[in-house]
């Protein structure tokens, strides 16, 4: 098992390298310049702008810049933001916890909704419950998060006035009040993201359970006189979970993508909104670092999925 994980990590290295090379080239080819703002500022003589470009090495050939970036990255130096001149790792560390909390909670919410609903819908296919659940799910994954997010704000913040729609990372209250304030401001972003995930996940759970529930061993279990509850929970769901785990892991990139949009709408200071700001300002070191963190997370979750297979299905072995 340890050897397997090590091997997988080694395999991940060339993919990370490839990702970074492609990203760097694309960013270098894209239009724009981090000193755009300076170009329109008459206070700043063009010489200062040119000097900054030279200082930041923007006039060197792309491959030279890439090699330099890679070399310092290997030494653990992530570089610094062109715009704010702050070290990139500092910026990311400040924001990563928020993103992980929001994405983590929304994934938990998605699982908590999708699995029971999906299983119930599959146990009684084409019942009223199934039809309603499937329709709602269909609507759910057809509506993008930037739409539902704004809809939620209009309903809960503006019309009803129940929830704040500006996320504040530092709440001055303490104790229970602190938790309550955090809860209140997190409900909308987490629900928006979680329900969007839950919708597609529920469809997968339903079809996975449907596949399993018709198998002979389930009939055997039933004929042994086991209660329906035990049959479904112990025999059906566990085996149906394998494709679902893959889905959850493989959908992580989509979740991060959705989080970028949600973070922007609710002003959550996560790495998604950091990425958007960096892209808008052509802040290459930050864009590189954030996308790098994203790709690292995606590879990591793939590995997690593979390891979970073994736990769910002992027939799968790691060699």
């Amino acid at each position: 098992m340890g050897g397997y994980i090590l091997r997988r990590c080694l395999i991940a290295l060339p993919s990370l390298l490839g990702i970074s090379a492609v990203l760097f080239t694309v960013l270098a080819l894209a239009p724009g310049d981090p000193f755009e703002e300076l170009a329109t500022n008459p206070n700043v003589p063009p010489e200062v702008r040119m000097a900054l470009r030279v200082q930041f090495g923007l006039d060197d050939p792309v491959w030279e810049r890439y090699v330099r970036w890679l070399a310092s990255m290997l030494k653990g130096d992530w570089g610094y933001s062109f715009v704010s001149r702050i070290n990139v790792d500092e910026l990311i560390l400040q924001r990563l916890p928020t993103t992980i909390v929001v994405i983590g909670l929304s994934q938990l919410l998605a699982i908590a909704v999708a699995i029971p609903v999906g299983v119930l819908a599959a146990v009684k296919p084409y019942s009223w419950f199934d039809r309603i659940a499937s329709t709602v799910a269909f609507v759910g994954f057809s509506l993008p998060t930037f739409f539902t997010g704004v809809l939620f704000i209009l309903l809960f913040s503006i019309t009803l006035g129940w929830l704040p729609f500006v996320y504040r990372s530092d709440i001055s209250s303490t104790g229970w009040q602190f938790l309550w304030d955090h809860f209140k401001q997190s409900i909308m972003p987490i629900t928006v993201l979680g329900l969007f995930q839950a919708a597609s996940m529920m469809r997968y759970v339903r079809s996975a359970v449907l596949d399993v529930i018709r198998l002979d061993y389930v009939t055997t279990a039933r004929s042994k006189g086991l209660s329906e509850r035990v049959v479904v929970l112990r025999h059906v769901v566990r085996n149906a979970m394998i494709p679902v785990v893959t889905l959850v892991a493989l959908q992580m990139p989509t979740v991060f993508g959705g989080a970028i949009v949600t973070e922007q709408i609710f002003r959550i200071p996560g790495i998604g909104s950091l990425l958007i700001d960096a892209i808008l300002r052509n802040d290459t070191p930050v864009i590189m670092a954030v996308t790098f963190v994203f790709s690292g997370l995606v590879i990591f979750f793939n590995l997690v999925a593979d390891v979970l297979y073994g736990w769910l299905d002992p027939r799968i072995s790691y060699r």
Partner: protein, 596 residues
């Protein structure tokens, strides 16, 4: 208006026949800035009546938390490297200059004990030196005393090109001398008509020597104070998360008695302008929202909730159309739109005049921008409450047709006018933006009625304003017949702003299109007038020179001003801020109060 008329006006103010405010408004109407007008009066010895800024508070603290919403978040807090207004405004919460500009363009002392004048010996007669007396008893947030050494250090720090500060232009060529512990003298080395630029306003914030000295020059990036400011301002920093928010508390040792009114200050950044407007106007979660570039129709809907109102800052952003004086479709010496070439149609005055007549500024500003635009005939432009008498704008399709007909541009079988092989078919470009495309369509429609065919082109803003010299679609290249964008005056003095039409600023191949004369309009008379203004120390003569430059430029009609664009700010119904269009939003934060 010429020099003699200006002098007569100054005399009227001196006698008391013309109110000071009215004089400033008139000069502003002529396209000058309020700070410039007020400096004319100061120079002429018409004393500035010391009108204190209104402050409704009676004691320090007790006002609760002041909440500001910026839809672009500040990313760092070094005032001399603050590139956007979001960063500049945030820095101003903590740092202060020697003086700031109020809404009427008066110079208000902040860290200075008085404004330098000829009468108090602050200004030398030859315009080469200014002596500032500093306020005593001012303390930095860490308890150290503020002295002349800090001012000297700020000059050294910002003026050092190795620090790569954006204010380098202001400090590089001056010399600052310490007279005593609380007096400094700025030596300009040449007669300098607009002396209130170093240490005044946005680029004048004073830095503490003891905090910044170890990180001067090339090490400026590593300074922890770039994120943790130590200033003299009314609030001191508690917590700052770049790109997200900052939190501050009242400074208990602030040098203005009974200020600030609020106990704490929160500034939240990020998101989009519309929801920022909502957070103030509709839900009241925040007290003030910055620069709400949202369609006026939407702002009006949000205002209907009654929680707040929108204030329009009449600044100096100007939207204009440039008619290319050079030929963008032919290469001369291997360069398109070479300054040596001449545009086949716009080279002719009648065509430019017709174009100006075909642009319906009033409808465009009213129908598309609402309160967010004020139609204008001036380039050097500020609120047009008192319109310049020199220039007018007109929308008249009939007249445009007559002008073109008289100049020999006859309609062809396709309805498009032509003369001697060249047709009135133009490519008109701007950046991608809803209102701009609507604006293009309105102009195209009117031109169609006069036999001029416009092909509309819109370029993504990142490319258009991107400054990439390898890209043919940037506004700096201007490789089309007409283009439209907004130009912004960032300083109270118009000298740098007006330099963008001098021949030495031509944006062309040899300087990789990095210079500022993007329109490539050239005029020997304009050049000479600008040179004269650079050296003219008599502010009245100088003002007259700027008015002349404006008239030369707009009179030649290669540049068609559309409207000035005041910046909308959302202000909560109970907040009583002290704002100014000539300085940062937060320039007088200590004076802000809220009604209970």
């Amino acid at each position: 208006m010429n020099e003699t008329q200006l002098r007569a006006l100054v005399e009227e103010v001196r006698r008391g026949a013309l109110p000071r405010r009215r004089f400033i408004e008139q000069l502003v109407g002529l396209g000058l800035t309020a700070p410039m007008a007020s400096m004319i009066l100061m120079h002429e010895g018409v004393a500035q009546t010391p009108t204190p800024l209104p402050y409704l508070g009676t004691k320090r603290g007790g006002g609760g938390t002041l909440r500001l919403m910026y839809w672009q978040a500040p990313v760092h807090l070094n005032p001399h490297f603050a590139s956007g207004t979001k960063d500049q405004d945030s820095c101003r919460i903590f740092y202060e200059p020697l003086g700031g500009w109020d809404a009427e363009g008066n110079l208000i002392p902040v860290l200075a004990s008085e404004v330098p004048t000829r009468a108090n010996g602050g200004l030398s007669a030859d315009g080469r030196n200014v002596t500032w007396k500093l306020k005593r008893g001012v303390k930095w947030h860490d308890g150290r005393d503020f002295t002349a050494d800090d001012v000297i250090f700020t000059w050294q720090y910002a003026g050092d090109p190795a620090s790569a500060m954006l204010s380098v232009n202001i400090y590089r060529d001056v010399k600052v001398v310490k007279v005593d512990s609380h007096t400094v003298r700025i030596e300009f080395g040449k007669p300098t008509p607009f002396w209130a630029e170093p240490f005044v306003g946005t680029w004048g914030l004073i830095l503490p020597k003891h905090v910044f000295e170890p990180f001067a020059g090339a090490k400026s990036r590593e300074n922890p104070a770039n994120l943790k400011p130590v200033g003299t301002g009314p609030y001191r920093l508690l917590d700052f998360k770049p790109g997200d928010m900052l939190r501050a508390e009242a400074n208990p040792t602030y040098h203005v008695p009974n200020q600030p009114f609020f106990d704490a200050l929160d500034l939240k950044g990020g998101g989009d302008a519309t929801s920022a407007a909502r957070s103030v106007l509709q839900t009241g979660e925040f007290d003030l929202a910055w620069n709400l570039s949202v369609e006026d129709v939407i702002l009006r809907q949000l205002e209907a909730a009654g929680r707040g109102r929108v204030h329009f800052f009449e600044g100096s952003d100007l939207e204009f159309v440039a008619l290319n004086p050079t030929d963008p479709w032919k290469e001369v010496d291997g360069e398109r739109a070479s300054a040596k070439s001449r545009h086949p149609a716009f080279g002719e005055r009648a065509v430019r005049e017709a174009m100006s007549l075909l642009i319906d500024r009033k409808s465009i500003s009213e129908a598309i921008y609402g309160r967010g635009a004020i139609a204008s005939a001036n380039f050097l432009n500020n609120p047009v409450r008192f319109r310049s008498t020199n220039l007018k704008y007109e929308f008249n399709i009939e007249k445009a047709n007559q002008v073109l007909e008289a100049a020999g541009w006859k309609r062809g079988p396709d309805g498009i006018r032509a003369k001697g092989g060249s047709k009135l078919k133009f490519v008109f470009q701007t950046s991608v933006s809803g209102p701009r495309q609507k604006c293009q369509a309105i102009i195209k429609d009117a031109c169609g009625k006069a036999g001029i065919d416009l092909e509309l082109k819109s370029v993504v803003a990142a490319v258009y304003f991107g400054g990439d010299f390898a890209n043919p679609d940037t506004y700096q290249k201007f490789w089309v017949d007409m283009q439209m964008y907004t130009t912004t005056m960032t300083q109270p003095d118009p000298q740098t702003f007006m330099e963008q039409f001098t021949s030495w600023e031509l944006s062309q191949k040899e300087n990789k299109w990095a210079r500022r004369n993007i329109t490539r309009w050239q005029n020997a008379d304009y050049d000479a007038t600008h040179k004269a203004a650079q050296a003219e120390i008599d502010p009245v003569k100088r003002a007259a020179l700027f008015i002349r430059m404006n008239d030369l430029l707009v009179g030649d009609q290669h540049v068609v001003p559309l409207f000035s664009r005041p910046r909308p700010y959302g202000v909560g119904a109970k907040l009583r801020p002290v704002l100014s269009a000539w300085d940062n939003t937060t320039w007088a934060l200590g004076y802000w109060t809220r009604e209970s």
